[in-house]
Structures are given as C-alpha cells and as structure tokens.
C-alpha cells in the first residue's frame, strides 16, 4: 500500500524533473514577477468589493441631476460638472487611501509576505507590484466614474437640446443654430480631460504616500488618521506657506524648511483644477504639464521612500 504511493509519487517527480531543464536563470529585476503581484493586488481589491464606491458615485450623480431641472441649462451643467468632478476627486482620494493602507500591514500580519519574499522576489518588486495594483484600480475607477459622468452629462445635454429645438421651432435657422451651439458649448469642454487626469494623479500621489506611511505605521487606523491629517494640511499648506514667506525673509533655512514641509505635506491644492474647468476657463498646457509632472514626481518619490523603509524593516 505504502509502496504503491511511493512509486506513484516517484514517477510523477521523475516525469516532471526530466522533461524540462531545472531553473531558468534568476533575473535581478523581472517585470513578470511585478505583474504577478500587481494582478494579485487588483484581484484582492476587486474581491474586497471596493468597487461599491463607484456605485455610490453613480447614484449620487443620477440623483443630483434629477433635482436640477429647475435651473437654466448653464447653471445645471455647471453644477453637474462641479458635483461630479468634486465627487470624483474625493472618491478617488478616499479609495486611494483606504485601499492602500491595509495592503502591506495585512500581508505582514497574515505572514503571506514571508511566503512571497521567500521566493526569489526582491522587496522592491513586491512594493512596485502592490502600488501598481492600486494605481490600476484607481485608473479603472476613474475611467468608470468619467464614463458615468459623461453619460449623465450627455443625456442632460440631449434633453436640453430637445426642449430648445422644440421651443424654438418657429425661430429663424441662424438663431436656432446659435442656441444649439450655446447648449453644446456649456455642456462639454475639452478641459475635462486634463482635469480628470490631474484628479487621477492626485489619487496616485495619495496612494504612494499611504504606502509609505503604512510601511512604518503600527496599525491601519494610524495610517488612515495620518493620511486624513496630511490631506487637510495638504489642502491648506499653500496658503500657509505664502503667509509664512510674507512674514519671514526667505533665507536658506526657511527655504529648506519649506521644502521639507512640501515633501511631507504635498500641495494638494495645486491639483485642484476643478474650479477652472467648471468655470469654463481653459487650463493652460503649461500648467497641466507642470501639475502632472509634480504628481508623477511625488508618486515616484513616495514609492522609493516606502521601499527604503521596507528594506530595513524586520518582518
């Protein structure tokens, strides 16, 4: 009986060992491994049902658009955009912080990190995979929210166009065309694309910062409280800094101090281009690229800082 088992397992092992050469050579950095961790992180977050946030977003938009029929169409579109982009900014930020905060601490607590790092996986790859998973989740969420937003806006636009055409059926051709153009112009404007991109990058930055905080935090609550704190300071700090610069002469020490503050509390207000978009003011290409670069820079820096702490961490 026991012999039978032995022979069976023996054969299986021989077959598998002889059919192909042993190990492929180890690579110091492998995108395939990062991808495996990314996919896993995305699966984890999906199966935790974080996407329910998106449902709330859709309900909020559809709900609020029902109440707005009483305004003029300019007002209506403006409020719709204001609410949507504002909600998008808050929801992606919230998602970024909540989804990232538990990622690493949970792995350490459950000791899954042992099994992963006992494989030939550098710690940097592990962290990159994790953050990439969150960034992907945020990208999907942002796209879905944008789609809901565009859809609701489009439907309202069509409704308004429909009534306009009906009301002005007797008016001359040019007048009707002008009215239609006015409706179209106040509904969609191209600046929504850079605006949403910046909202996404702000969420990325917050995710990376949360990852960094979570590498030395002792509890998830701590991470979330710290992030809430940073979130508010981040929105206020630009004003505070201007005030400070006015009050104090800008010596070298002041500048260094302010640079450190800017690193710890990123200027989140700079990522608020929503007001401009809602007002219909064009976002200059220069401002967009500057803000986008700032977002990418912060995301990269925080990820590297997280890696730095994680390398020295006793698991």
């Amino acid at each position: 009986m026991s012999n039978e088992i032995d022979n069976l397992t023996l054969e299986r092992f021989d077959a598998s060992a002889s059919a192909r050469p042993m190990q492929t050579r180890h690579r110091a950095f492998s995108l395939a491994r990062v991808r495996a961790i990314t996919v896993n992180t995305l699966t984890e977050l999906t199966r935790l049902k974080v996407f329910y946030v998106l449902l709330v977003f859709a309900l909020l938009l559809i709900g609020s658009s029902i109440f707005m029929a009483q305004f003029t169409f300019q007002q209506e579109f403006q409020i719709l955009k204001d609410v949507s982009l504002g909600a998008m900014s808050i929801f992606t930020s919230l998602l970024a912080i909540v989804a990232t905060a538990r990622l690493i601490p949970q792995d350490i607590e459950d000791r899954t990190v042992y099994t992963i790092l006992a494989k030939p996986v550098p710690r940097l790859e592990y962290l990159l995979g994790k953050i990439a998973g969150v960034l992907l989740l945020l990208a999907i969420s942002t796209l879905v929210m944008s789609a809901v937003f565009v859809l609701v806006l489009y439907m309202r636009e069509q409704a308004v166009l429909h009534t306009t055409i009906r009301q002005m059926s007797a008016a001359p051709r040019e007048q009707l065309d002008a009215a239609v153009r006015a409706v179209r112009a106040s509904a969609f404007n191209i600046d929504m694309v850079p605006g949403i991109t910046i909202i996404y990058l702000k969420a990325c930055l917050l995710a990376a910062l949360t990852l960094f905080v979570s590498t030395f935090a002792t509890t998830n609550i701590f991470t979330i409280v710290v992030m809430a704190f940073i979130y508010f300071i981040g929105h206020l700090q630009a004003t505070a800094r201007e005030y400070w610069l006015q009050a104090h002469a800008s010596g070298l020490i002041t500048k260094i101090f302010l640079a450190v503050v800017a690193l710890l509390f990123p200027d989140l207000q700079a990522f608020n281009l929503v007001d401009d978009i809602v007002a219909g003011t064009a976002i200059s290409l220069g401002l967009f690229f500057k803000t986008a670069l700032l977002g990418i820079f912060y995301t990269a820096i925080y990820t590297l800082l997280a890696a730095f702490v994680f390398y020295g961490k006793e698991l």
């Binding site: 032995d6 092992f13 110091a28 896993n40 000791r111 494989k119 030939p120």
Partner: protein
C-alpha cells in the same frame, strides 16, 4: 569537500523589546551545516528559536551577528532563494484566491508560466490531494488543507532545497504519513530538506541528522542513529516463541554477563492502528 546546502556560522539574533530595557535572545551563537541530499531536523521546545533560525536562513529576518548561506550564497541576496522552497509555520495565504490560483501566483513569482505551469499545478494538486478543492477559496480551507497547499507552493519550481517549518502541524495522521513519505521521496531524488518539528517520533522516522535547540543554543547535533543508539543494549523481536524458549534465553543471558532488562508483548503503534481503522 562539497559545498553545504546550508551553512550557518556564529548566528545570533536579539529581538529588542519596545519600551523595555531587556531584549530577547532568540538564537545564540549557532553553527550549523546541512549537507546536500540529507534531511536535517531542527528540534526544540516552543520558543527555542527554530522558526527564527529558518527565517534568517531565508533572508526574511536579518541576523544580529553571524551569517547564513544557501549553496554558498549569502541569505541576504535574493538569488540565494532561487532554488529554495519554503513552508512557513501555520501558513496563511490569500483567502480570496482558490487553491489553483494560489499555485499559479507563486509559480509566476518563480518565473514559470504557460502550459508548463498549468501542468505543474495539476501535478502538485494531485500530489497533495487537493484536486477536488482546487476551485475552492482558501478562506474555506481547513488547517490541514492550508498546510498541504503550502507544501505544494513550496515545491512549485522544483527546488533543490526545501525548508519546512513544522510540515505536519495540523495535518491528520494519514496526511502526515503522506507528507513524511513525500519527504523521503524527495530525499531519494537528491533534494535537501531542512525541517523543524517538536514531534519527535516523526522526526526520528525521516531525519538523517538532527540538531536540538534549547533557548536559542544548539545543545546536541549529529547523525540520528548515533545520537539515540544505546551502545550496550540490543533488542530482539520474536514471533511464536514459546514460554520455555523465552525462559531458556533468559537463562542463557544470565549465564553470560548479560541481563534481560525488559520482557513484554510487542504492540502496534497507535498510528498504525489509526491508519488501519480510517483507511478508505
């Protein structure tokens, strides 16, 4: 001289205790060599430093002093883990993955993929007896099933060295028997195994060499049969022996300078009894 599979030299690990002055010394000045192809058992009571030693060998915990190497490569280097499979104690994986997905994930981390990985997953699920549970989420697995998937995960990339922290903990007697048979098989294939345990009977059955840790220090180390042999005693097991024969033998013994210490009926082991009774 062949290169050892594992070399531990002068290893000490001190855990600081936060907010206290004293600290915990988990491992004290440990020297250890595991030769390629042998099964080495690290034994010791709870808290004696077995798991800590294994984690340091795998580069998961950094040593306070001393160094560890796997096939001549420093444990701190990621490459040292290329040919190693590790089963942590009380393994716990991602609850939201199924058994199959878990193996796929770990396979990918080892650079496997495609048909080759799929085949290997089937092989391993079969080997650890989880084929039926392959589509089930690990959140619903029992302790023994987790241990089995942990073992499969450790074997996924055909490692040359297996490090198992209490491989049979929580596994039923039949499963524990299978795991021990598997370890023997692996040894026949030239795979080195380092395992920790405090189940002495089981360790005795499969280990070539053992080391006993007490309070972080290695107090005994050597080949099993040498360590446990009682040099001046011999056992004799007879079948169908009559009472007269036994008395004669005792008489013979008394006439030479030997002494019969004990005379008893042979018993089966509880394990064998259990396996007989629960056999399907």
């Amino acid at each position: 001289m062949t290169e050892p599979a594992i070399a531990v030299r002068g290893l000490t690990k001190i855990f600081p205790v936060p907010f206290h002055r004293q600290s915990i010394t988990a491992v004290r000045d440990l020297d250890l060599r595991v030769e390629p192809g042998e099964v080495f058992g690290l034994l010791g009571p709870n808290g004696s430093g077995k798991s800590t030693t294994l984690k340091i060998i795998l580069g998961l915990v950094s040593p306070t002093r001393g160094r560890t190497e796997i096939f001549g490569r420093d444990s701190r280097l990621v490459e040292s883990r290329v040919a190693v499979g590790f089963l942590p104690e009380n393994p716990y994986f991602y609850k939201y993955l199924t058994g199959e997905e878990t193996l796929r994930f770990f396979g990918r981390l080892c650079g496997l993929g495609g048909a080759r990985l799929r085949e290997r997953i089937n092989e391993l699920l079969d080997l650890v007896g989880l084929t039926k549970a392959r589509k089930q989420r690990l959140g619903t697995y029992s302790k023994g099933m987790l241990q089995r998937i942990g073992l499969a995960q450790a074997l996924i990339h055909h490692p040359k060295l297996l490090v198992l922290d209490e491989p049979t903990a929580g596994v039923d007697p039949a499963g524990s028997r299978e795991i021990r048979d598997l370890i023997r098989d692996l040894r026949h294939r030239g795979i080195t195994v380092l395992l920790s345990s405090h189940l002495l009977a089981q360790a005795q059955e499969i280990c070539d060499r053992v080391g006993i840790l007490a309070d972080g220090a290695l107090v005994r180390e050597g080949r099993l049969e040498e360590l446990i042999a009682i040099e001046n005693q011999t056992e004799l097991v007879l079948e169908n022996a009559s009472g007269t024969l036994l008395n004669e033998i005792e008489g013979l013994a008394a006439r030479s300078n030997a002494r019969v210490i004990e005379r008893r009926k042979s018993t089966t082991t509880l394990e064998r009894l259990f396996l007989e009774a629960t056999k399907k």
